[in-house]
């Protein structure tokens, strides 16, 4: 289809309590820069049930317009209802480009929407710009497990759509809300929602680990040596209020569950602080944590590739270093 406006849309995914997921608000930051280069309005799209809190968040973080679709059928995410709502908005307003946070739901929704619109979609982007010569969005993303970066454009089809990795961009400082709020009545028949959530098991003990939302992560790898070695990792995580992560080597050895795995076959994370302990730094692991703000590595091997990625590297035995670090932190906070 063709664009009817130069507007750039950011799909702001909501939580069950009606607040915005962080990535939607983060995307308003590059969205502002891109909307200005494209000469259109920065539009947030909020779909859900009772989503005033998400609308308020989008308004104070720079949206010019906010499109709101509310209804009981949107309370829980479903591919069918959200695809129908988002596609009908796109068909009505014709934005030139659209960004979706690359959460599990975002990567479920993006391909469904772009395929229905017969458009192009670039997945899991980590850098965004507007190509000066053509005016197209230049979507940059990792491939081959982070070994290669590719810049992709969508010259002919509109909207050009991309999913963007959480934690790459930072929320802008809140300002006075000035957004125009447009409510659209779009309703989806129950029979058109073909999946049903039977159960949400949020407290699966060890299985629920919120790595994507964590501000601090302490991860262990092969150097941890065994399941009991993770007690040392957990002790540091506890004093820092951090989430425990792990490399594939530790997970494949059965020392800790896959829910903790960071990297290409695990989670992609972007915390403020990432402490890698006994992790050599295979490219697949680096691909999952390279958007961390500050990386600290503790490893016995001075040549471990993780040190190339680390802002602060400690060459040493993690079982000597971590307990002392824990004591120092406790002392400082006492």
């Amino acid at each position: 289809m063709e664009a009817k406006t130069k507007d750039l849309w950011v799909f702001v995914e909501t939580n069950i309590d009606g607040s915005a997921k962080n990535v939607g608000i983060e995307l308003l930051t590059p969205g502002r820069m891109m909307a200005e280069k494209q000469g259109g309005a920065l539009t947030a799209v909020v779909i859900g049930n009772h989503v005033q809190s998400a609308v308020d968040q989008a308004a104070i973080h720079g949206a010019d317009k906010i499109l709101v679709v509310e209804g009981a059928e949107y309370e829980h995410y479903s591919t069918d209802a959200y695809t129908i709502a988002l596609c009908s908005l796109v068909e009505k307003y014709g934005p030139t480009s659209m960004m979706i946070g690359a959460t599990n739901n975002g990567r479920d929704l993006g391909p469904r929407v772009s395929c229905r619109l017969k458009g192009g979609l670039t997945a899991d982007c980590t850098a965004l710009d507007i190509d000066e010569a053509s005016g197209n969005v230049a979507w940059t993303r990792p491939a081959f497990g982070g070994n290669l970066m590719a810049t992709i454009m969508c010259p002919d089809s509109r909207p050009q759509i991309g999913t963007v990795r959480p934690g790459v961009f930072k929320k802008c400082a809140p300002t006075a809300a000035k957004a125009e709020i447009i409510r659209e009545d779009i309703h989806v028949d129950e029979k058109d929602i073909r999946t049903q959530v039977l159960e949400l098991i949020s407290e699966m003990g060890d299985e629920h680990v919120d790595l994507e939302g964590a501000e601090v992560i302490v991860s262990g790898g092969r150097g941890v040596g065994g399941p009991e070695g993770f007690d040392t990792i957990r002790a540091l995580a506890d004093v820092l209020g951090a989430t425990v992560g792990a490399s594939r080597a530790a997970v494949d050895s059965g020392w800790i569950s896959h829910a903790h795995q960071v990297g290409q076959t695990g989670k992609t994370v972007g915390p403020k602080l990432y402490i890698a302990c006994g992790i050599s730094g295979a490219i697949q692991h680096l691909a999952g944590m390279s958007s961390s703000d500050v990386v600290v590595a503790v490893n016995k091997d001075p040549d471990a590739p993780i040190f190339d990625m680390a802002d602060y590297g400690v060459v040493g035995n993690l079982f000597e270093v971590l307990p002392v670090l824990v004591e120092e932190i406790k002392k400082a906070r006492a």
Partner: protein, 267 residues
């Protein structure tokens, strides 16, 4: 019960090295493997077949003739039948074009094998990492989709899938036909038996070409049918390592690290 599993042959990204002089990927000599996530999808299918022994598992791959090696591996592990779809016209396809070709191929295979109750895919391939082809096949076929599956269970005409969400684990149900993509579960996929391996080596794998696909619109295939264009690729600049601390003992290094992190306001 009729199950289709889509698989892709991919380079083992664990084995990819960077040419330090030219700063490019070294692709030569990198072994080809079955995309690991497709292996989890095949295992999920095999587990359904464990409970419903009459179930048939068909595997499909799009790619060059060499991709038959990946299909043979799937036959050795659990699949009953394999098909390859291949054609010069398909080269350069992005995910939209690839999913269109696969959905047209699936319709063709269904005329030979019967209608599929479920289509299983890996959540993503480890070379492209897009996670788009599965949902896009579902859209082309107008099927419901469940992504990030860990395990699946069939109950009458309903499929129930335990799937990963940020908040934990969700159990989602859909009426079949349905498409499910799988991520890594906490168990390892089964290995092939020697007997199955020998049978797989002898298996005849039919290749479907564009002329076998009645009604395919070739303008929707290949580079021309792909809305996304790769403008450039580059090896990411390696971050230059920061401060390295190595004091006389681990304890001293830990104290130094604490001092640095707290004076920088990091902890």
């Amino acid at each position: 019960m009729n199950i289709l599993v889509c698989v892709k042959q991919v380079p083992d990204t664990n084995e990819i090295k960077i040419d330090p002089v030219k700063n490019t990927l070294i692709r030569e000599g990198v072994p080809s493997i079955v995309n690991p996530f497709d292996g989890y999808a095949l295992e999920a299918a095999a587990r359904i077949k464990d409970k419903i022994p009459s179930a048939k598992i068909v595997v499909l791959s799009m790619g060059p003739e060499q991709a038959k090696a990946a299909l043979k591996e799937c036959l050795a592990i659990a699949a009953d039948k394999a098909y390859l779809v291949s054609g010069r016209e398909f080269g350069g396809s992005d995910t939209l074009a690839t999913s269109y070709i696969l959905s047209e191929t699936i319709k063709q295979i269904e005329t030979l094998e019967g209608k599929f109750d479920v289509i299983f895919c890996g959540k993503q391939a480890i070379d492209g990492d897009t996670a788009q082809v599965g949902p896009e096949i579902a859209e082309h076929l107008d099927y419901p989709q469940i992504t990030y599956g860990l395990e699946a269970e069939v109950d009458g005409d309903i499929i129930k899938v335990r799937k990963e969400v940020e908040e934990g684990i969700e159990v989602v149900a859909a009426k079949m036909p349905c498409l499910v993509t799988f991520t890594k579960p906490s168990w390892n996929p089964r290995y092939p038996s020697i007997k199955r391996k020998m049978a797989a080596n002898r298996a005849d794998i039919p290749t479907l070409t564009p002329s076998d696909l009645a009604g395919i619109d070739l303008t929707c295939c290949g580079l021309g049918g792909s809305p996304t264009k790769v403008k450039k690729t580059f090896v990411p600049p390696r971050k230059v390592g920061g401060v390295k601390l190595q004091e006389a003992s681990g304890e001293d290094s830990a104290r130094k690290l604490f001092d640095v992190l707290s004076s920088e306001g990091i902890i």
